[in-house]
């Protein structure tokens, strides 16, 4: 266990180093933010002065070393555009991202998992094809379209929900559904194939032969054994959801990290992009780590030291 943890920690540090280096250089390859910050009438001297003020006139390597030194001392810098510490900006957006991620995950799991189970158990029924069609449709509908349809229907025509924005539970409903439906379809499909896989195994057949009731069979055996892929998916989904849901956030004016990232990339606000990417990398690494640990609890055959199985 300890050696596993150490190895994972080492891998994580290498991954973080790689992510930081990549984000630093790729951004600087994409252009100079100075031009976006000065008015159109700025002269070449004004542009130079602004570049100097931002520290972008220093050699690239010096900037890179400074970036690492500052990050290690937990100084993530100030936004070029807003002139506010990145930590303040991210901290103001993070709660919204967490809220939306939780809402979407809830929608996805609460609908997706039972749906997948149902689709697997009722495999031969004629209506399962129809249901599967709906699941696929939910997954393939572009959110900018389904989102605006929901807004027009529930926000404008029926007036049941606030069309956009944040601040109350009612505001959270539509974005959670729009975002959750995508993952819901993933859960339903994974759960379905996982359960089908289990159903074909011998222990299920012998349990059935022993006369174990379906309900007990599902709860005691199937759910638990089909959970592994669901956990992997959840780890992936959480890291994706926390990185921000750009389109849903844009359509519903939800002030999460995704929107912040896109705005910062477009305006070349390097410092903010670095902060968000670093956070995203940390979350992904942490989630995968947690998923690994969870596996061993759900299925003791999986050992963390890699000797099992």
């Amino acid at each position: 266990m300890t050696s596993f943890l150490l190895r994972r920690l080492g891998q994580s540090l290498v991954a973080l180093f790689g992510v930081m280096t990549l984000v630093f250089f790729i951004q600087r390859l994409t252009g100079d933010p100075t031009y976006l910050l000065v008015p159109e009438t700025a002269t070449q001297e004004d542009i130079e002065a602004m570049r100097h003020a931002l520290g972008l006139d220093r050699p690239l390597f010096v900037q890179y070393v400074d970036f690492f030194r500052d990050t290690l001392s937990l100084d993530f810098g100030k936004s070029f555009i807003q002139n506010v510490p990145v930590t303040t900006i991210i901290a103001s957006r993070l709660p919204y991202t967490l809220e939306l991620a939780a809402g979407a995950l809830l929608v996805a799991v609460v609908i997706g998992v039972p749906l997948g189970l149902l689709l697997a158990l009722a495999q031969k029924k004629f209506w399962t094809n129809g249901l599967m069609g709906i699941v696929l449709a939910a997954q393939s509908m572009p959110t900018f379209w389904s989102g605006i349809l929901m807004i027009l229907l529930f926000g404008v025509s029926l007036g049941w929900l606030p069309p956009s924005g944040s601040g109350s539970f009612a505001h959270l409903i539509m974005p959670s559904i729009a975002l959750g439906l995508l993952s819901m379809a993933t859960y339903a499909r994974i759960m379905r194939s996982s359960v089908l896989d289990e159903l074909s195994k011998d222990y299920i057949r012998s349990a059935r032969a022993r006369g174990v009731k379906t309900r007990r069979l599902v709860i005691r055996h199937l759910l638990r054994n089909s959970a592994i892929p669901v956990i992997s998916i959840t780890a992936l989904e959480i890291s994706q959801l926390l990185a921000g849901a750009v389109i849903v956030e844009t359509v519903f004016a939800w002030p999460g990290l995704g929107l912040l990232t896109v705005q910062s990339v477009v305006s070349r606000d390097f410092v903010v992009v670095q902060g968000v990417v670093l956070l995203g990398a940390l979350v992904t690494i942490l989630m995968n780590f947690l998923a690994d640990i969870l596996y061993s609890f759900v299925d003791p055959r999986i050992r963390l030291d890699g000797t099992g199985g």
Binding site: G31, I89, P163, Q263
Partner: protein, 500 residues
């Protein structure tokens, strides 16, 4: 409770709620912007989402009325005491939101703050012609410019007065978080990423605002802004295009407000490299562009065809100038006659920020006339860097832009686009340079107008640049909101009101 009673009770409650929300709408105005302001320090950022908000928190030295005339604000009157000195009489009795009076010292401080190179204001380029600001007495300040600078007043329209005792103490960052001004609205709170709230300044010296509170929200998606307006959760939304505005037709309770702006859409040409270094080929390119078609077929939002790089809202606009007529046949004939010289491949540099419908239309029109135009799309920062390439001949062969100096003086449009020394210019004509310099450096209005009328003639005769249209700004508003949008694209809350 019987079902009928329940229904009645529900009806009463919902009627009460409806009344409450209607009453609320009268006290609170909700404005949907595209993004949240970048900053609320008026000396730190220059983008519409920022100034829509902060122009209500701060007073400026002077302002423009709804007709576009420069009128007093903090400066009660002014007089040019020499070619390089402007004397301003500071209005007495203005107080900042913290109760302290606005003094001549605050005016001097504000000018020095924004022109201090170390402060690195993005607006420095608009004010760096000011060499000094001096307090003469409690009510008088004299601004000295490096050279005679006729557009000074037009620039001072954008100079907000900040309180020395607050901005000096809080510093850049602190002042941005808690701005204190003297304007008709006070800063109330900033929920980052979500909204900025302002409340009415009851002690305002001028026209007071009609709303108790105003909330500016960040709603990046235009369709969502429209939905908010139709659902009644927003009263005023900015940055619509004509397609979205058309959705309003037939919808009750909402309306479209539009105003011509001081922004000129234009096609820029690099007149220094082939094929557009030949004036006849440039003329052919100009004749190939159906500007009526662009205005009426694509834009449809109240734009009008432009005859020059200025609008009637600009000082220096030349009356009676005619746009080059659309004549595809003639354009084709010239291209044919010029042969290979006209068919040199051209790159049309652009970025997604610009309306791609227009870029594509122009490309198609030019190619129809026989040119060989290819669109080269990059992100905005890369585009800007190429457009301001220190080597003039390296600047884009073709580009589309919408220029506003936010100063309503042709100097702010034509000097940067046409003077050979400017970052953007793709023209090198000594005679034109001299005229533009005259226009920039003399205070004699007659002489300036004469210079700009000659500029207009030279530019038109040589087809140095192709003015396309005067842009319009489209807003969506609650039917009950009374407001006349102006050319300078500001949202002055104290010039709005509710009907009745």
């Amino acid at each position: 409770m019987s079902f009928l009673k329940f229904l009645k009770a529900a009806a009463v409650v919902s009627a009460m709620l409806a009344t409450a929300s209607a009453a609320l709408a009268k006290d609170e105005l909700v404005v949907d912007l595209v993004n949240e302001p970048a900053t609320l320090d008026p000396h730190m950022q220059w983008n519409p989402d920022s100034y829509y908000v902060y122009r209500n928190i701060f007073d400026n030295l002077v302002t423009r009325d709804n007709d576009g005339e420069i009128v007093p604000q903090v400066a009660e009157s002014w007089k040019q005491i020499s070619d390089t000195e402007l004397q301003l009489d500071i209005r007495g009795g203005i107080t900042f939101h913290d109760g302290e009076p606005l003094t001549a010292d605050d005016v001097v401080y504000s000018v020095k703050r924004i022109t201090d190179p170390d402060f690195s204001s993005p607006q420095l380029g608009q004010f760096n012609s000011i060499a000094d600001a001096k307090k003469i007495d409690d009510n008088t300040v004299v601004l000295t410019t490096k050279e005679p600078y006729p557009a000074l007043l037009a620039q001072l329209v954008k100079l907000s007065i900040v309180p020395e005792h607050v901005a000096g103490k809080l510093g850049k960052e602190g002042f941005n978080e808690a701005p204190v001004g003297s304007g008709p609205y006070k800063f109330d709170g900033w929920d980052r990423g979500v909204q900025v709230t302002l409340s009415k300044n009851d002690a305002y010296w001028g026209d007071k605002g009609p709303f108790e509170t105003v909330v500016f929200k960040a709603v990046p998606d235009a369709s969502t802004r429209v939905a908010n307006l139709r659902a009644g959760t927003a009263d005023l939304v900015v940055s619509l295009n004509s397609d979205l505005a058309m959705q309003f037709e037939g919808a009750s309770g909402v309306k479209v407000l539009s105003a011509p702006t001081e922004r000129v859409g234009f096609m820029g040409m690099n007149t220094l490299v082939p094929p557009l270094n030949d004036p006849e080929i440039r003329r052919a390119a100009a004749m190939a562009i159906d500007r009526e078609g662009i205005v009426e077929g694509i834009l449809q939002g109240g734009e009008s065809v432009a005859s020059q790089m200025a609008t009637s809202a600009h000082f220096g606009f030349v009356d009676g100038a005619e746009p080059i007529p659309f004549d595809l046949e003639k354009a084709r004939a010239i291209v044919e006659e010029k042969g290979d010289a006209a068919k040199v491949p051209m790159k049309f540099a652009t970025s997604p920020v610009y309306d791609q419908r227009i870029v594509q239309a122009i490309q198609q029109m030019l190619n129809e006339a026989g040119f060989d135009v290819e669109i080269s799309m990059t992100d905005m920062a890369t585009f800007l860097k190429a457009a301001q390439n220190p080597d003039q001949t390296g600047r884009p062969q073709l580009s589309f832009g919408r220029w506003s100096c936010a100063c309503q003086d042709v100097d702010g449009v034509q000097y940067p686009l046409l003077h050979s020394s400017s970052n953007w210019s793709r023209v090198n004509d000594p005679e034109l340079d001299t005229l533009l310099e005259t226009g920039r450096a003399t205070l004699d209005e007659e002489a300036r107008l004469e210079a700009y009328s000659k500029v207009q003639k030279i530019v038109a005769d040589n087809t140095y640049i192709l003015p396309l249209y005067q842009a319009a700004a489209l807003y969506g508003a609650n039917d009950a909101l009374v407001w006349q949008p102006t050319a300078n694209e500001s949202l002055f809350l104290n010039r709005m009101s509710w009907q009745n």
